[in-house]
Symmetry: C2
Subunit: 418 residues, 2 copies
């Protein structure tokens, strides 16, 4: 495939896809606001102050008036890198923004922590137990040595056979990249094109940590981190926070007359250790999450106008193309080369800059993807705006694929207009 | 109050109770099975093998046939003591029992981790996104030095002003005990009576870690841990796991003809640091959680037949009596003396032995309380069985009250019969 069009994967291996039960969701959930801090290295900030920035930005982004006292429940994602407040780190940030009293639950699925926090906020709203739910996340990662960072990233990998034997996250993804190159002929240049595209987008995002463009030559000639992955094939470590506000259909009209519906939600899990999976060239948890979300939203990947996918390493974005059904297995290298996933292409991917250029403060990443979806669907993405999008997808992966979560957001005015 | 009867607290300080919105929950959730490992020190076990034991016990406890393949979603509570698998520790145990693929989310609110996991399972079922949800928890705490244990418990306390200045959990609860003694005349003997009662119950529970009786003299003469709390006023550190199975009203008939409804669910949060609260003689998060759960269940505390409350320290059980409305503020000392909360009293509390005698493997505790509720309501509590109970409550606290969650379980056959 090289013409840049998007096809649905018709068949998902039975072994990875556990067919969902029929959806009987009774109440719709809507995204009415989302905001984030800048991502980067901020020695003068704390996890609480970063969270405050994101929370205020989310509250301010709601089109109509929004009073924080209307929040019924909160879900906060963080891995707790650094260990400074490992327990009760959810209430530790919600009390800081004046929400003490409101039920708050910390959610953790490694790098998918706040993607799952968003999912929990949706469940809380759909359950009828909350009308207004906050989903947020944060991480502070740049205030420690690189050895300490390696430890904290490692705790999301499999302990006994991966971390304790010295396998790093770059090492795990390097194994996936090698397998994909061997099986499908994917090239280093195709990996580098992911970096070039995402830096081009991130250069248009004032919140991006590495908000500069890079050339294919830059990306190709960077020093090796874990062969075949080089520095430009790896995301940075980051500080940052992000928040999203999810409300029920019963109250959405109080907050906006341009509602964005959470049309699809899907999640999957898998063996935490890569070595225990049957495939290195795909992430079964992502496939399951995407299939479920598409089924709930009653759409195909072709119905999407943009996507924020989990590109912790360049190979992860290529795997996402295939797992999310943007192309057939093995064709992701062609798809990035075709330009279809660039701004202006058929399906722009990681318009925010992605984890690669925008940054990856672990616990903030999933909610931060939702911030970009909100901006795009609200027409507030500035220089990187996709033209009048109807639907966007977010895709957040924990570890090397031990968990994954996918959301489909849909602008109702555009749905009606089409 | 000294007649052993149970009264509702009529007024909850406005400052602590944020009135809930009307409940519009659309689908009922039911508890159809629950099981646990023994609690204790098990050097030959791992967190995975303990979880397997609890999972199998929960599956076996379902009255009609239950196939683990029917589980749609899982929520796993753990603090991650020891740090061996801090990230993705939910999927790490669900893959071990053959549930890889099924969405799994780790939930953490310190010692209330799996109480909140049960709450999330209820929300998932009520949301319509799952028909069968697993809620579980685990912790391994006995394989490290006491200094390391102190660190891991400390991370659930407030970091900057409590943990880093040397305040331990026993120290925090000792401050609450001192305040209660000063304000209400509560005595050390009343604290010791909590231990005597809970050990009497735990001696009847084959899963209890400290399953022996203790006399009032034993409890009174134990060495001081943090004045005024002595060794018998403190729960042990423990290894263990527990699981509960929550299903929707649409499928409950497939699993039992004696359904136990999750009639009420409530939660609250608060400042993580005790020093930032306006009161030391109560836990506002517990009050809010209880008020919400009673309102949803449309009951008063007088309608309860038993309760499992969070007695990490003896003072915590006395605070719970007041926060949950079993007596007026300041009267908990009289209530324990009256015998009303003993087996055979008006409202037996901690029939399992509680955290004090049964044990407190942090992440397992909340789900473990639900195991006792299930046993009591199913008539399977053996020597500690309460006579034909209709309703039971579980109450799980994170840290010194940064989070709390309350559930009310109701046996439908008894409700109809009354």
């Amino acid at each position: 495939m090289s013409n840049g069009s998007i096809q649905r994967v018709r068949t998902v291996d039975e072994i990875y896809f556990i067919p969902g039960r029929p959806f009987s969701c009774m109440r719709d959930a809507y995204l009415v606001g989302a905001g984030q801090s800048a991502y980067g290295a901020f020695p003068e900030e704390s996890y609480r102050s970063l969270f405050r920035t994101a929370f205020d930005a989310a509250v301010d982004s709601v089109p109509d008036e929004f009073d924080a006292d209307e929040i019924d429940e909160a879900f906060i994602g963080t891995l707790g890198v650094g260990g400074r407040q490992l327990g009760l780190s959810g209430p530790a940030v919600t009390e800081h923004v004046g929400l003490d009293g409101v039920p708050c639950t910390r959610v953790e699925n490694a790098c998918a922590a706040s993607g799952f926090a968003v999912r929990q906020a949706v469940q809380a709203v759909k359950s009828g137990m909350a009308d207004v739910a906050l989903a947020g996340g944060f991480e502070v990662m740049t205030d420690m040595s690189s050895d300490a960072t390696k430890y904290w990233l490692g705790v999301s990998g499999e302990t006994e056979w991966e971390r304790l034997s010295g396998t790093t996250f770059s090492g795990v993804y390097a194994q996936m990249a090698s397998a994909h190159m061997n099986e499908y002929g994917t090239t280093r240049e195709q990996l580098s094109r992911v970096a070039v595209k995402n830096h081009a987008n991130g250069a248009k995002n004032p919140h991006a940590q590495l908000g500069f463009e890079c050339s294919l030559e830059d990306a190709q000639s960077a020093p090796v981190v874990a062969d075949p992955l080089n520095l430009y094939h790896c995301c940075p470590t980051s500080d940052g926070a992000a928040c999203a506000l999810i409300v029920s259909e019963d109250v959405v009209d109080d907050y906006t007359d341009d509602p964005i519906r959470v049309a699809g939600v899907g999640a999957g899990s898998d063996s935490v250790g890569l070595f225990q999976r049957d495939t290195y060239t795909g992430v079964p948890a992502s496939r399951r999450a995407a299939e479920t979300a598409y089924e709930m939203a009653d759409i195909d990947p072709a119905d999407l106008d943009f996507a924020e996918v989990h590109d912790c390493f360049a190979i992860a974005e290529l795997l996402a193309y295939e797992d999310l059904g943007f192309c057939e297995p093995g064709e992701a290298g062609d798809l990035i080369e075709s330009g279809a996933t660039e701004l202006g292409g058929d399906l722009p991917v990681n318009t925010s800059g992605g984890l690669k250029s925008k940054g990856h403060p672990i616990g903030a990443t999933g909610a931060g993807q939702v911030v970009e979806a909100f901006k795009q669907l609200s027409g507030k993405a500035g220089e990187r705006q996709v033209e009048t999008p109807t639907r966007g997808l977010t895709h957040n992966v924990g570890g090397s694929g031990g968990a994954a979560v996918v959301h489909v957001f849909e602008r109702q005015q555009e749905v009606s207009a089409r």
